[in-house]
Subunit: 310 residues, 2 copies
């Protein structure tokens, strides 16, 4: 199946991605196969609030990649993304154009139900797509929520999408998106408040460390629905890539992410062990005591974990 | 400190909540103290997309509780909530009225940085607030993101807030909010599309198991900014509470949640153990091999976990 996917078999690739999404032994086997070959693809993340226009921008960026005849995969993990099926008609039609293009592979991933969750599933999916020879992977994720913001920060270049209007930039900052941004884009920039939003972003960059590093995230403006500014956005992504590759930032980030991932896998495997521990007669007794409030959860956990802690 | 908080000392209570938020040994000690006394409070969750008006509704519900002279706590974990500091001026003013009321205790919790995360911090905070004698706890959480939706489902009564407009109900369903709803409220119901959104919700209920259980979630309409429908919303919450208490649903849910929580604590503690395991010379060697792509992360994890698995 892995060989078939490498040779361009889309059905085989889709099946492998399902294994990754489900997690467990299948995902593990896919990871084992893909890992040695996974250095080639470049991952671009797009993140922002629901309704900020990430999917339309993603669609525009697909066009930029296809214009130079390179293949591209999209992994969408935003529940409001049209890629995952929640589109209004216009968006869907725009997607459709790419969906029939053999150089474009689109995959939505559910944000739940995966053993180990998104934080592990997304990098594994990206590695698989890299290993079968796709040079670009666009990852669209909603930038709200603990796990989702973490996933947004796992791309090689992360684009943070905000909209004009009071406080949107501030909300992005509060959600933790400021720290993961390599490029800012103000989408729907034809609406009122775009200049104020740009000014907010400049101010926040000035106040943060991010604004004083060798790469200062540029702030672009787009109207994704009519394509305004999309080519310039892609140029900014390419500029960040060039910087990341030449400065060593890319190698450093990837190495850091792999180490973090290994930590997460160890934690996940221990979680499986926990599930084994959390069963049996003594477990049932202890949970009854916790429910009856005669024992607190931490003390109960102490007792169950005694064999592992020893 | 625990005794002082029980006697009404707000500074002591705030400090205890900071311990809970930080996690670790302090949180554990607070949990141990609070657990035996934590059965008394009733937790009402409000969840929905950013900007759906959860905070203004919460503010209205505080008014309903105060009208019958009961005390109430608010735990806000939505980064866009005015309770957590991201308000536009009007919202802030509305909050201010309650902030100076000694019968109202408002607390925001960060959505990151807690050892073990929100999924553990929120129920522990609720238990602490219960143990010091607050009869009502309103939990406001953004209903987007894996962990956040999980937290939204932990209340005794969960109110899901949607807005009029194409697809808002559908997006709530896709985010997993349908399954956790005890009460639906269409806020900003004076806007166009409120009827269609109500129809969407009815349809989705008809199609889901939820619509055919003994408690079918009612669908209410509010305009939180001028108070329209807020009393009716609170009545619906009280009706669900009465149902949950008389049917045994409340006892069942709380027991289930405590069991799940104990599982999470076991997993968390194993995670701490993982951090111990993930250090030392062999760990450094293995991570270098993973970065160099000569070993895959799962195989490396196997080796590190050999002592625990045995």
């Amino acid at each position: 199946m892995f060989e078939a996917a490498g040779a361009g078999d889309r059905v085989a690739l889709a099946r492998l991605l399902s294994l990754v999404e489900r997690g467990g032994d299948g995902a593990r086997e896919v990871a084992r196969l893909a890992h040695p070959w996974a250095g080639g693809a470049y991952a671009v993340g797009l993140t922002g609030a629901p309704g900020s226009g990430k999917s339309t921008l993603t669609s525009g960026l697909i066009g930029c990649v296809r214009a130079v005849d390179q293949r591209v995969a999209v992994v969408a993990i935003d529940p409001s993304s049209p890629f995952t099926g929640g589109a209004i008609l216009g968006d869907r039609v725009r997607m459709q154009a790419h969906a029939t293009d053999p150089g474009v592979f689109i995959r939505s991933m559910a944000s739940r139900g995966n053993l180990g969750g998104l934080a592990l599933a997304v990098p594994e999916a990206v590695r698989l797509l890299a290993a079968v020879g796709l040079p670009w992977v666009l990852v669209e994720t909603v930038g709200v929520g603990q796990v989702e913001v973490e996933v947004a920060g796992q791309a090689d270049t992360t684009v943070v999408v905000v909209n004009p209007g009071w406080g949107d930039a501030v909300q992005a900052a509060k959600a933790g998106l400021l720290e993961v941004a390599d490029v800012f884009v103000i989408n729907k920039a034809d609406r009122r408040g775009a200049e104020e939003t740009a000014r907010d972003l400049v101010q926040m960059l000035d106040l943060s460390e991010l604004g004083h590093e060798a790469w200062r995230p540029p702030i672009l403006s787009t109207v994704a629905t009519d394509g305004t500014g999309v080519v310039e956005l892609w140029d900014a992504v390419l500029a960040h890539r060039a910087y990341a590759e030449s400065s060593g930032q890319l190698a450093e980030r990837r190495s850091f992410r792999l180490r973090e991932e290994l930590r997460e896998i160890v934690a996940l495997r221990l979680g499986w062990r926990a599930r084994e521990i959390c069963s049996g007669e003594r477990w049932d007794q202890l949970t009854d005591e916790v429910v009856a409030r005669s024992t607190d959860p931490w003390t109960a956990a102490d007792e169950m974990l005694a064999p592992v802690d020893a």
